[in-house]
């Protein structure tokens, strides 16, 4: 399966809307969480659409600064995932009180993707996104993992969240 996701996740839709503004395309998720998909157009609107410094992650310095600023009002997580043929990589970080409190963590679910940035993780519960969501308060319950518990596996691309 191929998928790609880059988004901000907050534990309350109201909290996310209050910092992102009412025009931001906030998507309600199960368990009271909310997601802001970081499509190209959303990045432009948020003024964080800048070239990657490391050519590795969409978590640019401008985006990290924005998350830090918003986290003064609500705990916020950045999640990034890309898979192709089921294998791939994840990036996640959490800000609270205007500082990074978790991560950023870079994981790969296969040996080929493991390098100086991404560490190999074979247990799905320890993938960067699952670990960050769990840290944020997401409960896996009877879902395959925290990612599925929020229904994030329902869409294959970031753009799909806006359609």
């Amino acid at each position: 399966m191929g998928s790609t996701l880059s988004a901000l996740v907050v534990d309350s839709a109201g909290g996310l809307r209050s910092v992102a503004g009412t025009r931001a395309p906030v998507v309600d998720l199960p368990q009271g969480f909310a997601l802001l998909p970081l499509t190209k157009s959303v990045r432009v609107d948020l003024d964080v659409d800048e070239p990657m410094a490391d050519n590795v992650s969409y978590l640019t310095p401008a985006l990290a600064e924005l998350a830090k600023r918003w986290s003064a009002e609500t705990t916020i997580a950045y999640i990034e995932s890309e898979t192709h043929g089921g294998t791939g990589t994840q990036v996640a970080a959490i800000w609270r009180g205007a500082e990074v409190v978790w991560g950023p963590r870079y994981t790969a679910n296969n040996a080929a993707d493991a390098d100086e940035t991404f560490i190999l993780v074979t247990d799905p519960s320890e993938y960067a996104v699952n670990a960050a969501l769990r840290e944020l308060g997401v409960e896996r319950r009877d879902a395959f993992d925290e990612y599925a518990a929020l229904g994030l596996d329902a869409k294959r691309s970031t753009d799909d969240w806006l359609t």
């Binding site: 190209k40 070239p51 990657m52 898979t83 192709h84 043929g85």
Partner: protein, 438 residues
């Protein structure tokens, strides 16, 4: 005495001797070109037959069965046309020989008449010889010389008529076997141009060659071929046969019609298909084209999600055509993921069992990696692959429309990733399938 002298002299005579016209060397060159064309035709069909033989068990079904009868027809027609071409070459050589003989005898005869004191006046087509009052022996010698010149000229005329008749008859034959015409006509037009328009013009105009049949043969021959439209347009716009032949020679020299038939860069199967172009063998040509694509796109097992081989071929040809047009000319595409392994990586769900599975395409293209970086796609795997590419990025890479088209054809999501080389693909877990190029 005076009466006696007068009685021994023949009265003055005037003879009109036709000049033999034509260029023996031009006729010989044309003959050589016809024989070369016959050889090329036979060789081409031999190549085509060999290619079909080599397909062997790989080509089965209706297309294969349907090819046998037209293949035999093609071979038979080829032999008939080659025989007719060789017969024409023989007749042209005979004509050249007779013409040269006529020229020699005509020259000798006129010279003889001059030595006999005749007055010779040279016109455009005839020579007028006036032999004054002469002794009976000298008058007889003059008459014999004139007779020889006329006989030589007449023999050349008969030979030219035979040659013209032969040319006309094979042209009629060519109309009957028009699938071969696209191959033969450019050769001959080219040959005609190389002999020289003036000589050919004389051959056509002066010796009864059916100019209309040549025109029809050319038009019918080119009709249905890939260059037919352009050639027909030019035939229609040019008034004279000679001019048409001249243009034909130019087309051949420019590598359009003649170049296509002559070119050695052609796939042999293409040559066969070209030779088979026409009403009779149109279905076979289609079959040959299909056989070639089937052979090239064969894979041990189709990726899951393809309902048929036809669907697979359509997808693959669209895929590579789109990549070529987008500037990824030497790209190689690899299928990865559950469509090849049978189940998904994380949960092990069989393909299409839990949800509608997607197709994961890995495009191997080093230049594409650079373009991806400029489009803001992150690198992965030690910079040997990109991250999965999203829709905006596909558009930036010039692949947006292709991605949309393939998704529509697939009726499922199609995901994309660029790789530096095949080794980087092979490093990743799970089976993969390299997609052959059409």
């Amino acid at each position: 005495m005076g009466d006696a002298a007068t009685s021994e002299l023949a009265p003055p005579q005037r003879y009109v001797v036709h000049k033999p016209s034509g260029d023996p060397e031009a006729a010989r060159q044309l003959a050589a070109a016809y024989e070369a064309c016959a050889d090329a035709l036979v060789a081409q069909v031999r190549v085509a037959t060999d290619v079909l033989d080599q397909l062997g068990p790989a080509w089965r079904g209706t297309g294969a069965r349907a090819s046998r009868a037209p293949e035999q027809v093609l071979a038979d027609d080829c032999q008939r046309v080659a025989h007719a071409l060789r017969q024409s070459a023989h007749d042209l050589r005979h004509y050249a020989h007779k013409l040269q003989h006529a020229h020699q005898h005509h020259g000798w005869s006129i010279g003889r008449l001059v030595t006999l004191g005749a007055m010779v006046t040279f016109g455009v087509a005839v020579v007028v010889v006036t032999v004054g009052a002469a002794a009976p022996a000298e008058a007889a010698a003059a008459a014999a010389a004139v007779e020889t010149a006329e006989a030589a000229s007449a023999a050349a005329g008969v030979a030219s008529t035979t040659a013209a008749s032969s040319l006309a008859s094979w042209q009629a034959l060519l109309i009957g076997v028009r699938p071969l015409a696209p191959f033969v006509v450019p050769h001959l037009v080219s040959a005609g141009a190389s002999v020289g328009i003036e000589s050919l013009s004389e051959l056509i105009a002066g010796h009864g060659l059916d100019a209309h049949s040549l025109e029809v043969a050319a038009a019918v021959g080119f009709a249905g071929s890939s260059v037919g439209g352009a050639v027909e347009k030019r035939l229609a716009s040019a008034p004279g046969v000679v001019r048409r032949l001249a243009e034909g020679g130019v087309w051949a020299a420019n590598g359009t019609a003649g170049g296509y038939a002559d070119g050695d860069e052609l796939d042999p199967v293409d040559s066969l298909a070209f030779g088979l172009t026409g009403v009779v063998a149109r279905d076979v040509r289609f079959g040959v084209d299909q056989a070639r694509v089937i052979y090239k796109l064969r894979v041990p097992q189709l990726p899951l999600g393809f309902a048929s081989n036809r669907e697979w071929r359509r997808f693959v040809t669209t895929l590579y055509d789109g990549l070529d047009k987008a500037g990824y000319r030497d790209a190689v595409v690899v299928f990865r993921g559950s469509s090849v392994t049978g189940s998904n990586f994380e949960q092990g769900w069989p393909f299409d069992s839990h949800h509608l599975s997607d197709w994961d395409l890995a495009v191997v293209h080093e230049g594409g990696m650079q373009r991806a970086r400029a489009a803001g796609v992150p690198y992965r795997q030690g910079r040997t692959r990109t991250a999965t590419i999203d829709a905006d990025q596909l558009h930036a890479l010039g692949l947006g429309e292709l991605a949309r088209l393939l998704k529509e054809m697939a009726r499922r999501d199609v995901s994309w990733m660029l790789y530096k080389d095949l080794a980087a693909v092979a490093q990743r877990p799970g089976k993969y399938l390299v997609v052959p190029r059409p």
